[in-house]
């Protein structure tokens, strides 16, 4: 009997995001393809400016007006880039929702948190206001906010950073979405609060059978929360693998460099990646990492390698020396 292959809930093909400035085109995201399966946690990992947030925003089609976007973004088989704006509004927040990094700037300071959560329900589920408020209390309870009946009447400034992020998560899960995009959800928080939020996201994901696209720069979070990893550099995916392979058998010099940059025990010298991320306007035609790469050879500067599988596995690397590393 033929095995039924699991269907990805989200499949992106060759996402490209570019900006035009002074008649020059800057390619911020260049051909990003990945799949998110049901109840999966996919990590999009990279340093600032690598295009991970733009990739997330393009899935929601929330890019700034001066950006141009191409490629395919198939959500449950339908291309989001071909949908009219009105249909997309129904998907945003109810089918796919997003948790942003900075909970203070993503909540409206002049409305109570209850009102803001209820708004999601009145808009998407056409609930009446009274019922939506009741539901909002339940949602706050679900994200483990103590005495939700009181908290519901408070404004964002009355809550701590961790509480605000819980409110953001309550809004994100209000319509039971199939996919949550969490963009650096704990970067603004302290470690003990970060631990609370990561635990909460994981248990909600299990309870509601959601998939999560987790965007982060923190390799610790990747090791603990993510199943499959996409490492991004200069707008491209440079390595793709299951989380175990990323840490035990990295096959791209950038991934190796990131792991070696992490602080170790006292007295052990770190091996940083030399130089810095190239500007988008200064990218050359070869491998974008070659200028900082200690394994680079002449060939690296002339032709950009493809993202190819290693030993026919689902571990892929964009490096001509991937087999030797």
């Amino acid at each position: 009997m033929a095995q039924i292959l699991p269907q990805p809930i989200l499949l992106t093909e060759e996402i490209k995001v570019s900006f035009t400035s002074n008649s020059k085109t800057l390619k911020a995201v260049d051909g990003v393809s990945f799949k998110v399966f049901e109840e999966d946690v996919l990590g999009l990992v990279g340093e600032s400016g690598c295009g991970k947030t733009l990739t997330a925003l393009s899935i929601m089609r929330l890019l700034p007006a001066n950006a141009s976007l191409s490629g395919k973004i198939l959500y449950k088989g339908e291309d989001l880039l071909r949908k009219p704006e009105s249909e997309l509004r129904n998907i945003r927040g109810s089918e796919i929702s997003m948790v942003f990094q900075e909970p203070m700037t993503s909540l409206n300071p002049v409305f109570t948190v209850g009102y803001q959560i209820a708004e999601v329900l009145t808009t998407h589920k056409k609930m009446n206001k009274k019922y939506a408020m009741k539901e909002a209390v339940e949602l706050l309870r679900a994200v483990r906010i103590p005495s939700p009946e009181i908290r519901i009447k408070e404004y964002p400034h009355q809550l701590s950073g961790g509480m605000r992020q819980r409110v953001m998560i309550a809004m994100a899960i209000a319509c039971r979405p199939s996919l949550i995009i969490a963009d650096e959800p704990t970067t603004a928080l302290d470690v003990t609060i970060q631990a609370q939020i990561l635990e909460l996201l994981d248990s909600l994901r299990r309870e509601n059978k959601m998939s999560v696209l987790l965007i982060t720069h923190d390799l610790g979070i990747v090791a603990e929360c993510v199943k499959r990893v996409e490492i991004m550099y200069a707008g491209r995916i440079v390595e793709e693998a299951d989380v175990r392979d990323i840490f035990t058998n990295p096959r791209h010099p950038y991934t190796i460099g990131l792991l070696e940059s992490l602080p170790k025990k006292k007295g052990q010298r770190l091996t940083p990646i030399p130089g810095q991320v190239p500007r988008l306007s200064e990218l050359h035609q070869g491998c974008k990492f070659s200028t900082r790469c200690r394994y680079s050879i002449n060939e690296c500067n002339s032709k950009e390698p493809e993202l190819i599988p290693i030993d026919n596995t689902n571990h892929r690397s964009r490096c001509i020396k991937a087999g030797e590393l």
Binding site: E47, S48, P146, S160, G162, M163, D190, V191, T192, I193, Q194, A195, Q196, L198, E199, H217, D218, L219, G220, I221, V222, A223, E224, C225, V243, R244, F247, T248, G257, L258, L259, E260, S261, L262, P263, K264, K265, K266, G267, Q268, R269, L270, T271, P272, I273, P274, Q276, V277
Partner: protein, 334 residues
């Protein structure tokens, strides 16, 4: 030199450090701010410790625990409410005039945000040059050569000289800030979250640079950070702060091997480890850090503590040496 790049083993008891002179010493430092109404905000409450010559001292804690206030007190940017601070046996709190300028030359700071700590309208040559000229470190005609030398030391080339801060990346700016701090030949550098605005690959470059400088110039560091991995890698001694108090003070290796205070234990367990197969039990603390305006009675940590028992509510535990060189403020060790 007691410390090398893994060549000389420091050993568990920091015995080499024990013989070194105390360079910075804090005695019962308190900083209270008056807040709205008749409230008092206890930002720093009864903190004492010392940093020895050549030592890397790490100060760790979550936001609002008072670690940056402490940095400002040490640099005499704000006066303490109570307590004494000595730098090289000179009283910082009382210092003025020549004594103060002597202290300021020996004691420098690197801030968190390299974007905000450089004047956007000053070229690098002016930003660093000012410190050299004001403090009369070198004669005016040698200023430029000296700046180039300093830039080289922090890994920047001479082209940087006539650039403005906006032309540099975050990592390069942090290097400029370090060069500026080094320009007056300090003996102690207070580094307040010097890495948190930088990406991981750049962080490692700056950590290595700070370590090299420590070896070359026998610098001491007071490193303030919320990043425990950085603290573990960098410091010889660690102090853990919670709500304005030091809850644990210990040699770094011992603290990470066996945290004694429950807060330290929870803090260490909460850090996601970038390794697979090494899943550990995470202690998730209840609730948020209370506001420093309403510090809980007794042990400030007791409402969130998973090991609390009767005496915790009533009495503030004293910071006591419970094992050799290991100071803890917790009733469990009474």
């Amino acid at each position: 030199m007691y410390k090398g790049r893994g060549t000389l083993n420091v050993g568990h008891d920091n015995s080499c450090l024990n013989n070194m002179k105390e360079l910075l010493k804090l005695e019962g430092i308190k900083k209270y701010f008056s807040a709205k109404g008749d409230n008092i905000l206890r930002a720093v409450d009864n903190v004492s410790f010392s940093v020895k010559e050549g030592e890397g001292f790490g100060l760790v804690g979550e936001s609002g625990c008072g670690k940056s206030t402490l940095a400002r007190l040490i640099l005499k940017l704000i006066p303490p409410t109570e307590g004494k601070i000595f730098f090289d046996d000179l009283d910082i709190v009382e210092a003025h005039g020549e004594t103060l300028s002597k202290i300021r030359k020996g004691l420098q700071i690197i801030f968190q945000d390299p974007f905000a700590s450089l004047n956007p309208r000053k070229r690098i040559v002016d930003a660093i040059g000012e410190a050299l000229i004001v403090n009369k470190i070198v004669p005016k005609r040698e200023v430029k050569d000296r700046i180039i030398e300093l830039l080289k030391k922090v890994g920047l080339n001479g082209d940087t000289l006539y650039k403005y801060p906006h032309e540099l990346s975050g990592g390069q700016r942090q290097r400029v800030c370090i060069a500026r701090a080094l320009s007056v030949n300090p003996r102690l550098i207070v580094a307040d979250e010097p890495l948190s605005a930088l990406d991981v690959s750049i962080q490692a470059q700056i950590i290595n640079l700070l370590e090299d400088l420590q070896i070359d110039s026998n610098l001491s560091y007071l490193l303030i950070s919320h990043n425990l991995q950085v603290i573990e890698h960098f410091s010889d001694t660690v102090a853990v702060m919670y709500l304005g108090r030091i809850v644990e003070l210990s040699p770094t290796e011992d603290l990470f091997a066996e945290p004694l205070h429950p807060y330290t234990e929870a803090l260490l367990s909460a850090v996601p480890v970038p390794e697979v197969d090494k899943r550990k039990k995470r202690i998730v603390l209840e609730g948020d850090v209370p506001s420093p305006l309403h510090i809980p009675s007794g042990c400030p940590f007791h409402p969130r503590c998973f090991k609390r028992f009767k005496p915790c509510e009533g009495e503030v535990p004293a910071l006591k040496e419970v094992k050799r060189n290991r100071w803890v403020s917790c009733h469990l060790y009474a």
